[in-house]
Symmetry: C2
Subunit: 149 residues, 2 copies
């Protein structure tokens, strides 16, 4: 999760909502990415999606069934679906996202249906994962970033 | 939807599950894609994801709020999330997918929560959209394709 947080910091520096993700296989980080929606001008460029794309490239196939994903914020519906589609084995996330999160949130009926093949654990480095987002949105309100909203 | 069906036919010819999608803006098709999960070796390469990616590239931004998406099969959770994330205005799909579909299925609690900014209409060219899938899976059972499963 520390490596995912470092990815989140890279997003922060770009004025992107600071969310980072890494994918681990056999104890090694095989993919790492951060949110790039604004900079990359694409709705799909969440940290998890970019990391999954990278991991599929590295492994040369679409099944990530021996991989774990660490992400600093609870995944949204799109990313949760992508985690499920790619058969990620274990999902670890830091802060929960009561508004947009799909793992603990009310928008998806049950985690079993969403993740038939993925175990999920939350609250990893919770304070750090929450703090980076809080600081970012404070900076944003203070006008530090000129984001295209 | 006819153009989306033509995309599905391209997937069929590759031995990919035949699902096609197009994105329309101001009456023009700005993106068209078909399922490429096996050939592209990536869990993300559903028709809708590839079409959304293409449309963001064409328009130079992540908001597809003046765009409509036509897809031959009811979108899964990942694609439904991507449609929501990209602010697609209208979603039209052909066949429903009782197993993996997230728009009418039981896995997502309500379409309002999933698609706050997207209208949804289903059953467009239903027979054609269903038939291409049925034919494909019959071919698959008959051993016409040597798919890596």
């Amino acid at each position: 999760m520390s490596a995912a947080l470092r990815e989140a910091e890279k997003a922060y520096a770009l004025g992107e909502t600071p969310i980072g993700a890494v994918i681990v296989k056999d104890g090694n980080i095989i993919a790492s990415a951060h949110n790039m929606r604004e900079t990359g001008k694409c709705a799909l460029y969440h940290a998890e999606i970019l990391a999954i794309h990278q991991a599929c490239r590295v492994l040369g196939g679409w099944r990530l069934s021996d991989c774990d994903l660490y992400v600093t914020l609870e995944p949204c519906i799109m990313c949760s679906g992508a985690i499920s589609q790619s058969r990620i084995k274990n999902l670890y996330f830091g802060a929960s996202d009561p508004k947009g999160g799909a793992v603990l949130s009310a928008s998806v009926q049950n985690a079993d249906g969403l993740f038939p093949q993925t175990n999920c654990e939350c609250g990893i480095l919770l304070e750090e994962c929450s703090t980076i987002l809080k600081n970012f949105f404070k900076d944003l309100r203070d006008g530090r970033f000129n984001k295209c909203k």
